[in-house]
Symmetry: D2
Subunit: 165 residues, 4 copies
């Protein structure tokens, strides 16, 4: 069936080829800055969903995202998965920033509260992840998504497992 | 910069134009079956992320998804946002299936536990959402993502607000 | 069976008799200050568990608690239910502080992360609840439990439903 | 101030003296059956809050609890901490039942959804914890609280860390 209203978009990415040697020998913050702040095409999920990292500091990860029509659910607003995906990235990377040399992490669980809907009209959103507690085996972080007027769109928390690489 | 390894994909969708009159006059289950099981291009997020509905019954929503390289994080596995997005859809739609005529819902919060990583090698995954409790103002559901061997990949829960349309 | 090591404790309380007329005619903050900061024996759960309110402001509720041997699980530390109960109180009351005249609230869900164990040696703990987002139908808050050295023991979040009384 | 309405209750317990040698040499299920199903006075939190274990099987823990006036919040119903505490016990013990010899666990986080209020009139409640996924480092469980008519009062989930003793 042809349909004049049909829309399409092309996204591109580079095959993810994590440099495991550098991952093992760099502190998490250095690895993140080198990897994520380099060529964004090395982060397929960000290219798919339309978000990218802005800044990494110890305990902090900032991303920005661009809600668009292709994120919509059929009820007429941006699907909650967009905020959940960005929060997962920002909160997980916040934990990664405090991993020492030889430490890896994996996300055990995330929780997201949806406060305001996003639409195409929302414009650029900021996503912030911050470490709450970092131990040798477990780290937690929280996060929030805000619009350019500072209005809260969503907030969440995560629990990560820390392990030796 | 050109890069021989660069990959790309094109996704297409129809502009989401929710039929608010039908939304108000049909039970949630009928609306879901008519809308989601019709032309999948009317669900932009599903087209973007590579998942689609399979079945809706009272209290139950089934989806299937196809993990691919374009879902990857830079560490070499499918980003957690893929499971979170599919669970959000399946658990939210499970709640929608029990909405009566004149009731709408919105997702207040989701929680997701990640059990096993997904990769391209995972193949098709099934996503199931089931209502746990449905009241006049609040409904809850839980959900799980499993691979074709029945192995649990992720599970979660959601809280939705029910309101008069 | 008698056992020389047997210990006991007596707690006392006044039958909870909520003044529903005042509940309906006072802002949440005024009601909380009048009720909770009056005779603590009117709060049976606080008398049972050994915690009490310290301060209420708009969007903020502070409690303090006293971990003791009677809170122990059989593995030799304070049971997680003690922190969960205090956080539930502090986060719920934080939401109550921003309820307007004629608004009530009920707790829909809580989430608690346990960071450090509590023992009898922990001493007095502070429990803080803070509103994150307050709408007409849903409000969220987060909370934390800290010891006198400011070390984080647990943190959490809650979602409450706001409704007309 | 004297008050004719003042009520009191005395609870008793035995000092918790975990047998760490047995903890290290027994499978979790055996240890739980020996410890918890023996003298309930060895579980101070259960004596305090009015709940006790009923049954342990592989992946399953059943408790029962008795909501009473001393659990009340000042608004006239049982405080949410009662359900949270029982669910924490039941879900944590469910994980403990699948710990092998030499494995210990600690609760990393719990989430609880409140579906129906409890009052003194509720009567005995059943609390069930069930393992959802058990790995070498992380295990998850969910749980529910029901009344004698089978009505759902609360449900929840937990994430536990598994570690070598």
């Amino acid at each position: 069936m042809t349909d004049d209203r049909l829309r399409h978009r092309t996204h591109e990415w580079l095959p993810p080829e994590p440099d495991l040697e550098r991952l093992k020998t760099l502190p998490g913050l250095d690895y993140l800055r080198e990897l994520y702040l380099g060529d964004p095409r090395r982060v397929p999920i960000g290219q798919l969903m339309g978000f990218r990292p802005v800044r990494f500091d110890a305990g902090l990860a900032l991303f920005e995202g661009f809600p668009d029509e292709f994120h919509y659910n059929p009820i007429g607003s941006v699907h909650g998965g967009f905020a959940a995906t960005m929060l997962d990235s920002a909160m997980g990377c916040a934990v990664h920033t405090v991993c020492k040399v030889g430490q890896g992490y994996t996300t055990v669980e995330i929780k997201v509260n949806y406060i305001r809907p996003m639409t195409r009209a929302t414009g650029r959103v900021s996503v912030e992840g911050r470490v709450v507690a970092a131990g040798n085996r477990i780290a937690t972080a929280d996060g929030k998504v805000t619009d350019e007027g500072g209005r809260l769109i969503a907030h969440g928390s995560t629990t990560c497992l820390i392990f030796p690489l």
